[in-house]
Structures are given as structure tokens and as C-alpha cells.
């Protein structure tokens, strides 16, 4: 087996230049499943890989496997709009998402893998006086929770995003905005690969093309999984499967308060730098940023009917683009390069579930809905804590499955900043 524990640095890059770059080895080890593990994570997206990494890093558990049906980071981790932010309304959510953003801020160093975090700032546009009022409430709530937030005047918005249509007869007049300066974007594939590389180096098995087809239950407890590569036993099993959580829950024999929807995004052809912020408009239901390659990345609203099809409706794409062009008229000549959709696990209060299931030794991390990417570090951190210690991480305590029976919901449907 080739060494996959190479450290990346300027020095190794210079060595590479001298050796015609022949010294590079695979970033992580593509494994086959062993007969048994201490912990199995079902789902090799960002959350699953981060969970495996923190299990090994924070808790010393290395007899761990991540089982992925396709290829790692090929689901929603590779289909999002790469935005990271923590502008939530309620204290529970603010704590959770800001912890995530803080982990993102040091993730490149922690993983020795450049995740290309760019804290270029997020601007939420206010199109009416009512928007301005709700934004001051939102900004105050964020500041009370210790998260950076600033209200922007119309002139400040114009200065930060000059391509916006600020004319007096604009279809969506811009009266001001809310900004979180620490928000921005990160390279989604790098986040998946960085965690995979980190986990693999600590001994975690990452198994691709391994579909979980059932759970093995003995004496009322889950003791392993049935997969397309055979039976694998485990002390504990954690599900981190986003839009497919209900499918796995059904295999195990319980229901979730989750509905799967398609959420679409699209990119234009690459152009020179012209938008140095993430711009979000809840009225239009779209959010726009420019990738490091120069593409305009445009995210839309949900296709509001249950779907596992990983493709979005044309009508939603049309609405998203029409709104985007009303904000940025100069984009009208940009050809679209690609459009796609991911299947997101939406719960009614738009808050996640990180906790136990009705079955012993089976745990779940789901319900991130349209905003799972930003939460990858904290999802992994708290889920690993639960799997390793059997106790809820204090950040995850409010986000339990039983809140749908007790009524203790954390309704971030508005706080998420977009009308999903």
C-alpha cells in the first residue's frame, strides 16, 4: 500500500517541482470493508466524513468505517452553493452554526488541506421598510448571541456589490441590507477530501460503492449493516445520509419528520471578478456568489414537492434566474454552463436532528435541509461526540428527535434567511 500520509507544505511542493511531481500519493486510502468495526457511519458526504475524522481525532476511535453508496462528496456535498455563514436567529442555532464557522476558520490548518475558505461577507438585501425592520431585529439577535452582524445602508450595499441594480425604478428596490462579514464560501470538494484525508490518515476505512441495504438487529439493538459488499458488524451505527435519511430509517423500521425535496443550483460561464460578496435575497429566493474560477453561482428555492430525482424543475430555475437578472441586469448575457439539484432533508422547523433513534445503537445526523454544507464541521464534531461517548454534545442537546413530540421546536424557517 502506498503511503497516504504525506504532509502538504511549500517545502513538499518545492520537492515536487524538483522530482517532476512524481512523489505525490493518493490523498486517502480507498478501503474494502472489514467484518466488524466499532463504529460505522452510513454516508460519505461532508457530515459522515467529518464525523469519522472527529471520532478519530477527538475521541481516539479509529476502528471506524464510512460506507458510501456512490463516491465520497458526490451527493449534496458536491451540489451545494458552498456558502458558509452563521446568521441564525435563535441562541441554540447561533451557538451551533457559529461553532461550525469557527471550525471552518481554522480547518485548512487543522486538516493540512486548503479548503479555500473565503470570508468575503454575506449581504442579505432589504427590499422594503418591513425587511429593514426585521433585519434590525435579526442583527440584534445575532449580536446578542455573539455573532458578528451589521446593518447596511443603501450606499454601503452599492459599495459592496456595485453590479446590483440600484436604480429608482428597479423591480426589486434595494433599501439596505444585513451583512455578516465572517460569512463567505469554501471549496466544497476540498472540505470532503480534506476530512477524508484526515480520517484516512488516522486509520478510518473509507469504503465507496458500498450501499447499505439493511440493518442487522439482535435483541432489540442494531449490531451491524447489510451492504452490497456483504455484512458488516458494528458496535454503533450512525446515519448521515441527508436526503436519503428516510430511506435508511425505513430499512431500520422507524419514521422521521423529514420530507425530501430537490434544491437546485446553477453556474454561468466563468467571467472576470465582478462580485466580491455572497448576495442573498429572500424576496426572490435566490443567492448569488462568484466562484474562484469566475463562474456566477446561483442557488434557487426548493422545488416544493417531494422528490428524490436530483434534478430541478425548469419553472423554478426560470423564477430563480428571472429574479437574479432583476437584481443583476448585467448577467443577462451570461450563458449558463450547468444546472443541477441535490435532495435535501427538510424538517418543519428547519433545524437539524443530531441524536438517538428509537433503535438502540443507531444514531442519526440529518434534517439540515437546505443548509448542510455550512454545518459540516459542527455536524461531524457533535455527532462524533455522541457516537463516542453515548452522550449528547451540549451544542446538540436541543436538536433531538423527540422535540417533534414535545413541541420544543427551534423554528429557524425564517432565520435561515431564505424562504425555503
Amino acid at each position: 500500500m502506498r503511503d497516504t500520509k504525506q504532509k502538504y507544505s511549500v517545502w513538499t511542493l518545492l520537492q515536487g517541482a524538483a522530482s517532476r511531481h512524481r512523489q505525490w500519493t493518493p490523498a486517502w486510502r480507498d478501503a474494502q470493508p472489514k467484518p466488524a468495526y466499532d463504529v460505522i457511519i452510513v454516508g460519505g458526504g461532508g457530515h459522515g466524513l467529518a464525523t469519522a475524522y472527529y471520532l478519530a481525532k477527538n475521541h481516539g476511535l479509529t476502528n471506524v468505517a464510512v460506507l458510501e453508496r456512490g463516491w465520497i462528496g458526490g451527493g449534496n456535498t458536491g451540489r451545494n452553493t458552498t456558502i458558509v455563514r452563521s446568521n441564525y436567529l435563535y441562541p441554540e442555532s447561533a451557538r451551533l452554526y457559529d461553532f461550525s464557522l469557527k471550525l471552518y476558520e481554522n480547518l485548512s490548518q487543522a486538516l493540512n488541506f486548503n479548503i479555500m475558505l473565503s470570508q468575503r461577507g454575506l449581504i442579505v438585501l432589504a427590499h422594503s421598510r418591513h425587511d429593514l425592520e426585521s433585519m434590525s431585529r435579526w442583527a440584534n439577535a445575532m449580536r446578542m448571541n455573539g455573532v458578528d452582524a451589521d446593518l447596511l445602508t443603501r450606499e454601503q450595499v452599492r459599495h459592496l456589490a456595485p453590479a446590483l441594480d440600484m436604480s429608482s425604478n428597479a423591480r426589486y428596490p434595494i433599501l439596505g441590507g444585513l451583512t455578516q462579514a465572517r460569512a463567505g464560501t469554501a471549496r466544497h470538494d476540498a472540505v470532503a477530501w480534506g476530512y477524508a484525508r484526515g480520517a484516512s490518515a488516522l486509520g478510518v476505512d473509507i469504503v465507496q460503492n458500498c450501499e447499505v441495504r439493511g440493518f442487522i438487529e439482535e435483541a432489540g439493538a442494531i449490531v451491524g449493516v447489510d451492504t452490497s459488499l456483504g455484512r458488516v458488524r458494528a458496535g454503533k451505527v450512525g446515519i448521515a445520509a441527508a436526503g436519503h435519511s428516510s430511506v435508511l430509517a425505513k430499512l431500520a423500521g422507524f419514521k422521521l419528520p423529514v420530507t425530501s425535496y430537490a434544491l437546485q443550483a446553477m453556474v454561468s460561464e466563468p467571467v472576470k471578478p465582478m462580485l466580491n460578496a455572497v448576495v442573498l435575497s429572500a424576496a426572490i429566493g435566490s443567492y448569488i456568489s462568484q466562484s474562484d474560477k469566475g463562474e456566477m453561482v446561483i442557488g434557487g428555492g426548493l422545488d416544493l414537492f417531494p422528490s428524490y430525482a436530483q434534478r430541478g424543475s425548469f419553472s423554478v430555475m426560470q423564477d430563480t434566474l428571472a429574479g437574479t437578472l432583476a437584481l443583476f441586469p448585467s448577467f443577462s448575457r451570461l450563458p449558463l454552463l450547468r444546472q443541477w439539484a441535490g435532495i435535501v432533508d427538510v424538517v418543519r422547523d428547519s433545524s437539524p436532528i443530531i441524536g438517538r433513534t428509537p433503535l438502540k445503537n443507531l444514531y442519526i445526523n440529518c434534517g439540515w435541509g437546505t443548509g448542510g454544507f455550512k454545518a459540516i464541521p459542527v455536524g461531524g464534531w457533535t455527532f462524533a461526540h455522541l457516537l463516542a461517548t453515548g452522550k449528547d454534545h451540549e451544542l446538540a442537546e436541543p436538536f433531538q428527535l423527540d422535540r417533534f413530540n414535545t413541541g420544543r421546536l427551534i423554528d429557524e424557517a425564517a432565520g435561515a434567511g431564505i424562504a425555503h
Binding site: K255, V258, T259, S260, F305, P306, Y308, A309, S315, V347
Partner: protein, 87 residues
Amino acid sequence: MMQLKCPWCGVRDEPEFVCGGTTQIARPDVACSDQEWGEYLFFRENPKGVHRERWRHAYGCGQWFNIVRSTLTHEIIAVYGMQERPP
């Protein structure tokens, strides 16, 4: 884009309709437990495949109706009335 067949207006494009989610869920008695009430309000099958759901022709006749649809292929398998049993 899907085309749905409204029982009153015929085949129309998807943007004219609003999906109301899983249909014909029986409401438990008000004296039920929190567990049952939570199940009723929030917990769903969310199947990958055949799903029975209700839609409203919001930008047409405004009427509700039921369909059987695949959530994987978006194929509409059957259309039936609100009071009818699924075919």
C-alpha cells in the same frame, strides 16, 4: 417540468399547482398522546418511489385533488378525488 391532470381543468403545467404533501392522513383523537400527535403532525413515510399526495390547482379552479406519483421519476401514476380511495 411536470404536467398534472386537474380533474376539472385537464392537463396543466406544474407552476399552476401547489403540492400539499402526503394525503389522507387520519387525524387522531384530540385526547391522544403527545407521541401520537407528533407523529400525526410531523412524521412522514417520505418514500423514494410511489407516493400518495394532494395537490391544489391554485392558479386554476382552486380545487384540491389526490395523485399517486413516483418521487423518483416524477411519473404520475393516477389521479383521484379527495374523498376517493387510492386506486
